[in-house]
Amino acid sequence: MLGLSLDQLRTDMNRLLAILFHQGVLDEQFLQLQQLQDESSPNFVSEVVNIYFHESEKLLRNLRALLYLPISLSLLLYLINEVKMSDVLCRVDRELCDYKKMEIQLNQLMGSSSSIGAQRLRNVCIAFRAASNHNNRPGCLRALELLEYEYCYLKNKLHELFQIEQQRMLAAAVRYPAPHQHLNNPQA
């Protein structure tokens, strides 16, 4: 029964990974990450990926603020009659978005995404950066939406993967208890 569970969990993990590779969500860099996991750092992959999620969420919030904050300020100016609406739209698109700061966030997100093998996310960052280089705010907005979608998808799938991995490790521990347990309880 336990043996079947261990095999089933392994199959589930491999199937999920195959899907993610086939969809292009992950690339071979994720395998590189897995190969670095060993007895001295048995949770290396999940630890690095969790840091990645924590940092990425900050970067995505920063990108959202960089794209949306200028319009808030411009609307405020419009409301107090400091600028015309046409000027608001023009300034937001061309002047008020800090594209340089956006590029900093994107470079960081690209670098960390490529390091864990998050291929699709990285590709969206490339498109986002291209839009940012052309001061193309509508393009940046579309890219941000796609980035947030890809990020959510990746996070959900990798959490699913880590849950299966944890269950597999628990099942393996039950099936193959540590040697000292046999010594203390010869009847086990």
Binding site: E47, V48, Y52
Partner: protein, 139 residues
Amino acid sequence: MKKGGRKFSALVVDDDQVIRNFEEKLLARFELETKVVKNGEEALKLFREGYTFDVVVMDMEMPVKNGPEWYGGTCRPLVQATRALRAMGVDCMIVGVTSRGDGPEKAELEAAGLNCCWEKPLNDKIVRTILDELAKKSS
């Protein structure tokens, strides 16, 4: 491994923790004794304290504050850090890793004293290439 059986040493310079953790583990897998720092200033500090390394692996797009201006989005911090290291007499290999492809900054970086640069992510092929270069240098 160096001639005489000593291990090669590496310094990773990157502002991103994910990359620092990953590169440190990767280089250690190839038996390089590795230290990690967050930016060029910390790297320079280590060299001033007398640390030596066989190779420095540096992020090409670190944003480093210098007064009120951010240099983000360019390789300027890497150029500055490389020039400063070479000016101190540091002659080890310095390699850059970038999120961009081949850019116009490459010539400026090579003039500053960078040995080579690769696109992220660092992987075992790149590390093997670095080790081959280090082995040739030490023989």
